[in-house]
Amino acid sequence: MTAKQNVTEAMLRTGEVESSFEQAERDVTGQAHSVIGKRHRKVDGIDRVTGAAQYTDDITLPRMLHAKILRSIHAHAKILAIDTSEAEKIPGVIGIVLGHEMPTSYGVIPWTPDEQALAEKKVRYIGDAIAAVAATSEDIANRALAAIEVSYEVLPALVSPQAALDQPQNKIHEENKQGNISKHVRLEFGDVKEKLEKADLVVEGHYYFHGSTHAPIEPHCAVAKYEANGLLTVWSATQVPHYLHRELSKVLGLPTHQIRVIQPAIGGAFGGKSEPFDLEFCVAKLAIKTGRPVKILYTREEVFLAHRGRHPFDMHYRTGFDKEGNILAVDAKSIIDGGAYSSFGLVTTYYSGQLLASPYKFETYRFDSTRVYTNKPACGPKRGHGSVQPRFALEIQLDKAACSLGIDPIELRRRNFLGENTVTVNGFHVGSNGFLECLELVENASKWQERRGKLPRGRGLGVAGSTYISGTNYCIYPTELPQSAVQICLDRSGRVRVFAGTSDIGQGSSTMLAVLVADELGVELEDIRVVAADTDLCPVDLGSYSSRVTLMAGNACLMAARDLSQKIRSVIAKKWECHPRQIVLAQRRAQRIDDPSVFMPIKEAFILAESELGTLGSVGHYNTPKTQVHGEYRGGTIGASPAYSFTAHIAEVSVDEETGDVTVVKVWAAHDCGRALSPVLVEGQIEGAVYMGVAEALLEHHHVMPSRTVDAKGRQSAGPPVDGLLYASSLLDYRLPTSLDTPDIDALIVEKPDPRGPHGAKEAGEGPLHPVLPAIANAIFDAVGVRIDELPISPAKILTALRQQRSTKGVQLCCVCLLFH
């Protein structure tokens, strides 16, 4: 049976497809004409390569004002007074807005609304927004900011989780009940203590995963226009138009039907644009106040301050194995540095443990994670949200175990393979699972068996695996409504219009939808117009986060497209006096499967159908299954997904023992995406994710400075740097790899279709980032025999480890701590 037939069979079993034989037979014969899996050009590709694509900052409206935001110079302070009188006098200053004008708190997660559009009573990090000024030019707006006087009562800044935990009386959020603890989750499955005691080997390790940020090349930007009829339009570089829409309504006190949110072309997001930000509320409020359109474009520094990037994790792991290397127990403890606000922190804290119980079988499992508020830019979701950090720790733990037990690290992973169509220790239902295929591919491609452990000193190979969700099973606010919907209209000219709330952030979601439509309706990609991410024109899609779009919007799209296909073929079947299942729509034709000489152009088919049935359109929708997904305990839903992707990486590194420099020579990255609807797009995601993982492992570091004292005006006294000031807030100082720094990446696609995905497709956006970090760490061990358990890996750390190695020569230790029973 082909992959496609397998999927159809499975879908029929689960009742997720209405007609049976018809669909199956059409699939078999339609395969030759299938658009799925071909190499496509993006539907918006021409716009992007000609500079015609319109990004938010490319929008200019008549009489538009430019606004700028005044930001806190203190990491922790009460705002005593704000005096805008001098600023108001400056010619060209048209409007100013302060925090008390938007008093409603919000938060992307409705249970933790701890932010205000502009800080009213206190500021919680250097960069916290206090006021916004709209003026006739950016220069005048900046001048006005400088003329605003803020009096602060400076409070002690807590710039580390430990400091914040040690001073619960110095609350960053006064209304918080547990000092500075943002969220605590402790879950246990089975008796971990018992299994650890019985284990033949317990590997114990301390791991530190540092903070990093998304650094999209496009800074955040928003434009707002308020019309006399009361309609507010906000264009924003957001990846979640729907959530932004809801929060704008809440904070501005306007009903949602009076607000239109449009996401223009966006220049990268990676999770950094997946919640509402101060600029969106400010442009809206200023547009309402001044009656003129208002734009805010973040400076690059403001992008770094907005952050919402990777949480630093301080991790302590104990993993118990038997002598064959089977995982008996995993005990994980994490302190998570949350920054000044919750953002998605509630979810992060659950993810920090819930996403780890796959692709390996854990007999027992326990995790205890505490997210702490600190006076720093807030952390949030960055590609692989809450899961990249624990994966780093676990994959090194496995490598250490393999070393102690004398088992090949790939073999160890094979032995612990979770399996397909099974349930994890924490109750998540896993469908298709291509992890073994991924391991085999990278093992062969890298010539692992011949080379690992046999390369000259300084050169090494390391392996790691991972899994990721294809969307979260639940919307972030409680609702029974569909999580995605797609509306399709047919045109008499043989064209198709697709309306989808999806947010194309460069990953190609609009192209993905067009591919599905082209395949079902027999048109070419250029016959399809995708209208996306406009809350007035498109049905709701929850947005591009958690790698949900292909699975959820794809399924909604298929539903709509198949409905139309069925209608069209039924009408033609009457004309040709045959059964609809004997007709295929492909390559701009409707054609008899059993007699290809009987056909009509697709345009004619659409017209025929429209004349019979009236104007043709359909709506498809998708909601996640609510049974056979997750366990029934509290928190059991968070991290559960309809389907999971799987990834395996092998990294080859070269370590210069004199300088400590690590060069990643090559990465082989195999990723099970279920079905590659458009392989060019999937490869792009794999390559981009691996690049981002390498960058995080070796170069990027988003961190703030430790203490010193300042006076009430923020002027520094003599001495070392400021409390909570960001170190590197430029694209030069924050090290991003250039083309010269990026290793050779071999993206290898594995297809293990999952019945819950459209044509079996699962995610490919975030999964492929995870394993490369531990793979690099493991490769360094293979190369020079030292373990780097703290990120980022730096020459200094390598040299220190090598020095330690030399001084302990004669005592052959290859793991941090071993307990043999």
């Binding site: 993006k42 000609t50 008549p62 220069d139 999209p216 496009e218 800074p219 072309a265 690059r300 250039t738």
Partner: protein, 184 residues
């Protein structure tokens, strides 16, 4: 143009202390009123409405604002507009012609080298300069070194692609030029 797109309006209000800057942009003589501190990037985006060239950082770190000044790839956010009076400026809007896409643009599109597309105009301009240089050298090599391409693009940051498909596209375009003798 998509249904929900707005028109881009060029500013007609004179900036403070404006003087006239005359230069050639994409083969066309233009006169633009600019304030003395305006950068070439601001002249292009706000003065002329040519928004293809992007502002990523406004301080010369990312390369998204790369244009060609007399054929040389330059960061337009670091160039004061008035200092390039009379010079020949080429932006991404000037790459394609009435006969179609530039060979580089077509290669980028075919290879999937533009994901979010924000770095793409800068990448294209740096690549175009490289290809011009190779053509001028009348290289007899049948293939272009990936390392050479990588070096030419090392001033253009990309966050989406990991650079691989961009280099594939440039290499493809370069090989076509070597084969066919020109860039049309």
């Amino acid at each position: 143009m998509s249904i929900n797109e707005t028109r881009c309006n060029v500013s007609v209000t004179l900036p403070e202390g404006a003087s006239v800057c005359e230069l050639v942009v994409n083969g066309e003589h233009v006169s633009v009123a600019v304030a003395p501190h305006w950068t070439l990037l601001e002249l292009l985006r706000y003065g002329l409405g040519l928004t293809g060239t992007k502002q990523g950082c406004d301080k010369g770190d990312c390369g998204a604002c790369t244009v060609l000044i007399d054929g040389k790839p330059t960061l337009s956010c670091l160039v004061l507009a008035l200092t390039v009076q009379g010079r020949d400026i080429r932006t991404v809007e000037g790459l394609s012609t009435s006969s179609g896409l530039h060979i580089l643009q077509d290669a980028f599109d075919r290879h999937g080298a533009a994901q979010c597309g924000f770095c793409t105009p800068g990448m294209l301009m740096s690549s175009a300069a490289l290809l011009q240089k190779l053509q001028a050298e009348r290289s007899t090599k049948q293939t272009v070194d990936r390392g050479e391409i990588s070096a030419a693009l090392s001033g253009n940051l990309c966050r989406c692609t990991g650079y691989k498909k961009i280099i594939d596209a440039v290499q493809d375009a370069a090989e076509q030029i070597v084969k066919n003798g020109d860039s049309k």
